[in-house]
């Protein structure tokens, strides 16, 4: 029971500070679960981020649920879901009640004006950390560049990038293991 409570508190903290979407949350999770608790590795996070991105629903919620599952199975995923969603549920109800009073408080707006550029730095940190467990092979580097170009230049939806790269990975793996047999 105590373990679940601890997990809930960690996810609640993560949920309370997830501004700027699912990727911004990755940096907090890496800090909590890789550095501090050491129950997950960087490459676990790569898989988690990949799956969170390929399923429907909010990426932040998907990421949490998957992390919860990896740590403590189905119950863990439920705890993770509750912990992640509750802070935003509470905040929105408060804001919905007081919004028209606080809407124009300049200080709050300035606070979030500062947070927005910081999210860029957080995501950059995550990208650097996640790329560490990936071997610098020609194959991997080309996939990184292709998917980056696909989104930034060709504006392909991330979902299709994942499907395409999954197919390439599957074909490449099959070819490699065939070559290995000979």
């Amino acid at each position: 029971m105590q373990e679940y409570l601890k997990l809930f508190i960690i996810f609640f903290r993560i949920g309370a500070f997830t501004f700027g979407g699912g990727y911004a949350m990755l940096a907090i999770m890496q800090r909590e679960f890789v550095d501090r608790e050491q129950i997950l590795t960087e490459s676990d996070f790569l898989d988690i981020a990949a799956i969170a991105q390929s399923l429907p629903g909010p990426v932040a919620v998907n990421t949490s649920v998957f992390v919860g599952y990896k740590i403590k199975g189905r119950r863990g995923s439920l705890v993770a879901l509750l912990g992640t969603v509750l802070p935003s549920l509470i905040t929105i109800m408060l804001l919905a009640t007081f919004y028209y009073k606080i809407k124009d408080i300049e200080t709050i707006q300035l606070f979030f004006k500062g947070v927005r550029p910081a999210i860029v730095s957080l995501i950059f940190l995550s990208a650097i950390r996640l790329s560490k467990p990936i071997e610098k092979t020609k194959f991997n580097i080309s996939i990184v560049l292709l998917s980056l170009a696909g989104i930034v230049i060709l504006k392909i939806h991330p979902i299709f990038i994942i499907i395409i790269c999954a197919t390439i990975g599957y074909l490449y793996n099959r070819k490699e293991s065939k070559d290995g047999d000979i």
């Binding site: 990949a50 730095s121 995501i123 999954a166 490449y172």
Partner: protein
């Protein structure tokens, strides 16, 4: 009766919107503003603004907001549950499938392709956020200070978020 249409609507949003964040906005807007008229166009813009001031995914925020103003706290809880429940079951099912079949060559191959792609996706998100969030010398300075705090001084990301907020207050009020 009304509460059921809220539930169904947010089940749909949760089940059919991919990519999270602002990628989900058109789907949400269609359901909430155009089809059901729970919010006007300008209320919808307000809720997007509220979302920027509150933690959590924007789809969850909108669900809570609409549920709350339509049917109070119960409405907020039901709408929020609806928007996350489909992906909750999909993620846990896929998670258990993958954990059991980790060594199957097909899955191994798929992940070989997906892992580096995720780096590309995150870098792309970083670039696109850079262009929308780094708009002047002050925001650029904040990003750099936070970058140094994170990499050099290993500041906790939550600490970094709070710190950046105060930098925003200081920088933008001078």
């Amino acid at each position: 009766m009304g509460i059921f249409s809220v539930i169904i609507s947010f089940l749909k949003i949760g089940a059919f919107s991919f990519g999270g964040g602002y990628a989900m906005l058109p789907v949400i807007q269609e359901e909430v503003v155009n089809i059901n008229r729970w919010l006007t166009e300008s209320e919808f813009i307000d809720i997007v603004a509220i979302s920027q001031m509150s933690p959590g995914p924007i789809s969850v925020n909108v669900a809570t907001f609409v549920g709350y103003i339509q049917h109070g706290i119960i409405g907020a809880i039901l709408a929020t549950t609806s928007v996350v429940i489909v992906s909750f079951f999909l993620v846990t099912s896929l998670a258990s499938f993958i954990t059991k079949n980790r060594e199957v060559p097909i899955i191994e191959g798929i992940f070989k392709g997906i892992r580096p792609a995720v780096i590309g996706l995150i870098s792309a998100a970083c670039i696109s956020l850079f262009t929308t969030s780094i708009i002047d010398i002050k925001s650029f300075t904040i990003a750099i200070i936070i970058l140094i705090a994170l990499f050099r001084f290993k500041l906790h990301p939550i600490g970094a978020i709070i710190f950046s907020g105060f930098l925003g207050i200081i920088f933008y009020s001078i």
